[in-house]
Each structure stands twice: as structure tokens, then as C-alpha cells.
């Protein structure tokens, strides 16, 4: 059994590397590293407040903002300039100040209507700002507690690594296990395998382990060459392992329903796109509907975040469901491959 499995593993590994996969991964890795290290900026180079016009006679608010570090480029001189700046930059807002510090009046200009939640949040932030400028302490009515010590903000460039691990490295198995299965169907080698002593488990695991080995080398190289060596590599290897084999099993589950790569491609790509939906929660943390949390990459992304940028969070509540999910995926994969692929008249 072990010898049979190892032979199959070696054969699949050789096939993987004979078909340019090595070069493709190497080029992709180089592109990712160049972008992370040299091109993606460390922090967002945007002004969070937006464009500002002090319409008051004294111009005192503009002075306060200059002193607090707002760049001159964001302090404009007329309502028209504010409207033109907002029209050119949909992410920003325009703020027009009138009156005095004692009786301030703000007009907030948006490109389009915003939700009432966002409107109320902007109002609350401006009220807090004016209360502070007025020397009123409103912070006595509440206290802030942290479950763990606050962590430093993650550098903009390094924040790209968890999504790259989840959506570039781990999905290798999902794509390539399908291609291997189609190739074997087409070449007829799956027929030969059916009459050989090799079991279904050996067939699935040898392929999953090929992509695990490739994924581990690929993922670890990406992390080592960008973040360095000071992190919990044991945990990183565990999650890369669980993630890689889970996606290989899921890839095989989908692939058994198709006959060739052309048929599979659009459905497979569609599923990979659904798998990427959690990246939206990654970008907009307040958007985490229940359905998105059921996608495996949601927990995997959180795990990579915590491993690469630790905050002291307990990882077990994510690892246990991920492990159980991988076992369940294996069982379904086994039943489908055994029932469809190993018995089909192909």
C-alpha cells in the first residue's frame, strides 16, 4: 500500500513539474514578491477626512486642520472647488465649514447618496471632533476595554499576504487535481488504475499530497521572502496543510461531475470566485454576513491573518471546524470518486 501510494505520488509529482507548473509558480512567486516588497505602498496614501473648505470669516477651522497635519492640497478655497474635487474622487467627501467654533455648521458633500448608517457615523465623528476642539470631555460617560493588548496596524504591503496564501497558494489543489483527473480519463490511465490493486484512498491521497507538497514550498517561500522567519511556522505549516488538502478534496468533488477541462472550467472558475468572496469582508470588516462565514476561505483568511500578525487570539475555534470540514470533504470525495470515477465506463 505504502509503496503503491509512493509510486503514484512520485508519478503525479513528475507530471506536475513536467508541465511548466514549476516555472509558472516561480514566475508568479517572483511577481508577488516584487509587488509586495517594492510596489504596494506601506500605507494608504489617501486623506481620510476628504476635501475641506473653511467658509467662515476667521478661517480658524482651516488653521486647526493645518496644525493637525492636513496637507494643503486638501484645503480648498471655494464650494465649486470642493464639488469638483469630490466629483473627481468618488471615495472622498467634501466638508464645508461655516459659522464659528462656538456655533459651527458643516455641509458634507458626497458624490452620491450614502446610507443613513454612514451619514450618522460621519455626524458622530464630526460632533466628537467639535466637542474635543471645544474642550468638552464626553469620554467620562463610557470606558473602553480590550480583551487583548492593542496591536500595531498591519503594513499595507504585508496585508496582501494572507489573501495571496488563501487565494493563490491553497487553490492549487482545487484546480490541478481536476486537470489531473481529466488528463487520466482522456489518456485512459484511469481505466488501468481501476484494474490495478491501488485503492481509491491511495488515488485521492497521492494527488492531494502532491499539491500539499507544492503548496507548502510555494506558501512558505512567499512568507519567508516577504515577512521573514520570526513567526509561528509550526502553525503556518498546519494551516497550509489543512487548507491545501481541503481544497484538493473539494477540487476532486467538483471534478467528478465533468468529463474535461473545458466543461469544468467555467463552473470551477465560478466556484473559485465564490471562494474569493471573503476578501470583501477582509477589506470591509463590518461586512460579514452569515453566509460568507460558511465559505472555508473565510476562516482560513482569519487564521493566516492571526498567524502572520499575531494578536494573541485563540486559533482553536477556527482550526477545529477546518479539520472537521477537511475530514468531511475527504469522506464525500472518497464516496464520489469511488462511486463515479472508479466505476464509470470511461
Amino acid at each position: 500500500m505504502t509503496k503503491g501510494w509512493f509510486n503514484l505520488f512520485r508519478k503525479d509529482l513528475v507530471i506536475a513539474f513536467r508541465n511548466a507548473l514549476f516555472w509558472v509558480l516561480l514566475v508568479t512567486l517572483a511577481i508577488m514578491i516584487i509587488f509586495i516588497k517594492f510596489i504596494i505602498p506601506d500605507s494608504q496614501e489617501t486623506n481620510e477626512l476628504g476635501y475641506f473648505y473653511d467658509k467662515s470669516e476667521a478661517g480658524v477651522m482651516a488653521e486647526i486642520l493645518r496644525h493637525s497635519g492636513l496637507e494643503e492640497a486638501y484645503i480648498l478655497n471655494s464650494t465649486d472647488e470642493i464639488e469638483a474635487a469630490v466629483a473627481d474622487s468618488p471615495q472622498s467627501v467634501g466638508i464645508i465649514f461655516e459659522g464659528s467654533l462656538e456655533e459651527p455648521s458643516f455641509t458634507i458633500i458626497h458624490q452620491s447618496e450614502i446610507s443613513s448608517y454612514q451619514r450618522k457615523m460621519i455626524d458622530a465623528s464630526l460632533e466628537a471632533l467639535m466637542a474635543r476642539i471645544g474642550g468638552v470631555n464626553r469620554q467620562g460617560s463610557y470606558e473602553v476595554a480590550f480583551l487583548r493588548p492593542q496591536t500595531a496596524p498591519i503594513s499595507g504591503k504585508l496585508a496582501a499576504i494572507p489573501p495571496l496564501l488563501a487565494f493563490e497558494v491553497l487553490i492549487l489543489g482545487f484546480m490541478f487535481i481536476a486537470v489531473f483527473m481529466f488528463q487520466e480519463k482522456e489518456e485512459g490511465s484511469i481505466r488501468a488504475y481501476r484494474i490495478s490493486p491501488g485503492s481509491t484512498a491511495t488515488y485521492i491521497l497521492s494527488k492531494a499530497l502532491v499539491f500539499l507538497a507544492i503548496g507548502l514550498v510555494y506558501g512558505l517561500a512567499l512568507v519567508m521572502l516577504t515577512i521573514g522567519i520570526k513567526l509561528n511556522y509550526g502553525m503556518l505549516i498546519l494551516i497550509l496543510t489543512l487548507g491545501s488538502i481541503l481544497y484538493s478534496f473539494l477540487g476532486a468533488i467538483v471534478a467528478v461531475f465533468f468529463n474535461n477541462i473545458s466543461e469544468w472550467f467555467v463552473v470551477g472558475t465560478g466556484l473559485l470566485m465564490v471562494n474569493m468572496a471573503p476578501v470583501i469582508s477582509h477589506m470591509y470588516p463590518s461586512f460579514s454576513p452569515k453566509w460568507i462565514t460558511y465559505i472555508p476561505s473565510y476562516s482560513i483568511l482569519s487564521l493566516f491573518n492571526e498567524i502572520l500578525f499575531p494578536t494573541g487570539k485563540n486559533l482553536m475555534p477556527w482550526i477545529i471546524p477546518l479539520t472537521l470540514g477537511t475530514v468531511a470533504a475527504y469522506i464525500v470525495c472518497y464516496l464520489l470518486v469511488d462511486g463515479k470515477l472508479m466505476k464509470e465506463g470511461h
Partner: protein, 331 residues
């Protein structure tokens, strides 16, 4: 011309037999439809509060104006805050509020939560605030995803055509084509035409779902048709560089981030990095489509971007077709 049409006819017959055209046309539209459904909820998202059930009804009502409120037992509050999503725990006891964070939240978000609590507990207003919209309705997320989906539709068209070439190489059918009167140029034209027409139809459908009828479809059609050389180039890269399905998928794995990922990344980068992408025809294709979908002006006009896409794709296809012709043993 007859030879080209025959090859196209043959490809269509194969695609119809395998239901490929159905998959190709329907799947991006379904994905576009799914995206359209959840984009509004991304953009409308407010703050999330996990409020201990001992809190006053008034506080809960006030917080609901800022986002979603989950009422839970105080003993479960810590566990809820520790879950993956971003949510602040709120405990109200003896007229005093405690805001509980995990510790990994961005400082700006913490400040917003604090401002909200100050606002709901304060009886005093410090400013008169009014909001005004310029009336340029739209959504940057929707616009960006529309362009991404359109480019994906174009990519799928190329890939399916590329797969056809790979299948011909894999089954040695290409050898029969090589000894037929069909030249390399005719072969490339046939493959490119079918891929481009299918991709254009699919992209227009995707646009109708994502952006409705409010854009200029004549301009879009012209951009998509003038992007044909790029679609053909991608199909040719897949078809000529891979001899079997594994090689094809490996090549697609490389092409997808370069074709889709780099223009999107360039969009988010400061202007001083943009020149790094000027050699990519797909960067200009993105800019051309951006002129149609974005509500804000771009640095390059629609027609300039379209013509650069066409020109660059033409140069690359000329350079690559010699290699492709050799690889495919075509005359």
C-alpha cells in the same frame, strides 16, 4: 475566408456538443447577478454592536441608527466579540457604558465606535450638520466589479479558444490542420474571431446585469471589438505554450493574475507607480472600460486607451504569432 469560417463552424459544433457555449455565456452572467445582489449590502454596511441584554431599550434603539445590533447574554459577550467579524461589545450598567474591543481593530474604527457612544450618551449637540449629494449615483465597488467581470468574460472567451487549440495538439488533430491549406494567419484569425465574438456577447450581457442600460453600449461594443487582438493573443498564448490540459491550466494560472489582477492593483496604487503597467495592453483595456463605467474622469481618454490596447496587442500578437506558428506546425 471560407477556410476560416469552416474552422469557426467546426469549433461552434464542438462547443455546442459539449454545452460549452452555454456554460461560457451563462456562468459569468450568473456570477454577475450574484454580485449585483450583495454589492448593496457591502456598501450599506454600518457598524456592528453586540449588546448585553441588560442594556436599556433606549440605548439599543439609538445604536440601531448606526448599524446592526445583536442582543446577547453578558456571559456570551466576550465570545461574540472574539469571533472573526468586526463587532464591538457594549455593556450598560449603572448608566455607564463599557465598549469592548478585541484589540486587533483599526484605530480609526475604534475612534468611530467611541464617537458613536459619545453621541448617544451626550445630550448636547456641537455642530449643525447637513449632507448634500452631487447626484452622481453609482457605486465604485459596483463599477470596479463590472469592469472586472467584463474582463473575466473576455478572458473566458480566450481560454475556451485556447483549450480548443490545446485539445487539437493533445489529440494530434493539429497535424491534420497543418497539412491542410489553412495558414497560420487564417488559423489565428478563426480562433480569435470566435473567441472575441463569444466574449463580446458575454461581456455585454454582464454589463447589462451589472450596470443596466445607463451606459453607452455602442462605445462598449467598439472597445470590446477593438480588444479582439488581445483576446486572440491570450488564446494563442494558452494554445501555443501548452501541449496538454495540465500545461494549459498552469498557463491560465499565470495569465489570470497578470490579465485581471495587475490592472486592478494599478487602480489602487498611487499615480507614480502607474507607468510600471504601461506595457500591458490589459492595463489600457481597463482604462478604456473605466472611461465608460467610472463616474470620475481618468487620466487617459476612452479612445486613446482603446487605441493603445489595440496597438500594443497588435505588436505582441505579431511577435508571438511566429512562435505560435512554429509550435503549432502551421505554415
Amino acid at each position: 475566408m471560407n477556410r476560416i469560417l469552416n474552422l469557426i463552424r467546426q469549433d461552434i459544433a464542438t462547443a455546442l456538443r459539449d454545452n460549452l457555449i452555454i456554460y461560457m455565456l451563462i456562468a459569468p452572467l450568473l456570477i454577475a447577478f450574484g454580485m449585483k445582489l450583495f454589492i448593496p449590502s457591502v456598501e450599506q454596511a454600518g457598524l456592528s454592536f453586540a449588546v448585553a441584554d441588560s442594556a436599556s431599550h433606549q440605548l439599543v434603539e439609538q445604536l440601531q441608527a448606526y448599524g446592526t445590533v445583536e442582543l446577547i447574554k453578558e456571559s456570551e459577550l466576550q465570545g461574540r466579540v472574539e469571533k472573526t467579524d468586526t463587532i464591538a461589545g457594549i455593556i450598560e450598567k449603572d448608566n455607564r457604558i463599557t465598549i469592548i474591543f478585541e484589540g486587533n481593530e483599526p484605530q480609526q474604527l475604534i475612534e468611530t465606535y467611541k464617537a458613536v457612544i459619545e453621541e448617544v450618551t451626550s445630550k448636547q449637540s456641537f455642530a449643525e450638520i447637513t449632507h448634500r449629494s452631487l447626484g452622481k449615483e453609482g457605486s465604485i465597488l459596483n463599477e470596479l466589479l463590472t469592469i472586472t467581470m467584463l474582463m473575466m468574460a473576455m478572458l473566458i472567451g480566450s481560454i475556451v479558444s485556447g483549450f480548443n487549440i490545446v485539445a487539437e495538439r493533445d489529440t494530434k488533430a493539429i497535424n491534420a490542420i497543418a497539412v491542410s491549406p489553412l495558414t497560420a494567419l487564417q488559423f489565428i484569425t478563426a480562433r480569435g474571431l470566435l473567441a472575441s465574438l463569444a466574449a463580446t456577447a458575454c461581456a455585454i450581457g454582464t454589463s447589462l446585469i451589472m450596470a443596466g442600460t445607463g451606459i453607452n453600449y455602442l462605445q462598449l461594443t467598439v472597445i470590446l471589438l477593438l480588444s479582439s487582438l488581445l483576446t486572440t493573443l491570450l488564446a494563442l498564448i494558452v494554445g501555443a505554450s501548452a501541449t496538454n490540459q495540465i500545461g494549459a491550466i498552469a498557463m491560465i494560472k499565470l495569465l489570470t493574475p497578470i490579465y485581471l489582477g495587475l490592472p486592478i492593483l494599478a487602480f489602487f496604487l498611487p499615480d507614480r507607480f502607474k507607468y510600471l503597467f504601461y506595457w500591458l495592453p490589459n492595463y489600457w483595456q481597463f482604462q478604456a472600460l473605466g472611461n465608460i463605467y467610472f463616474r470620475f474622469p481618468l487620466n487617459v481618454s476612452l479612445w486613446h486607451a482603446t487605441l493603445i490596447t489595440l496597438g500594443l496587442s497588435g505588436i505582441y500578437i505579431l511577435a508571438f504569432s511566429k512562435f505560435a506558428g512554429k509550435k503549432l506546425n502551421l505554415r
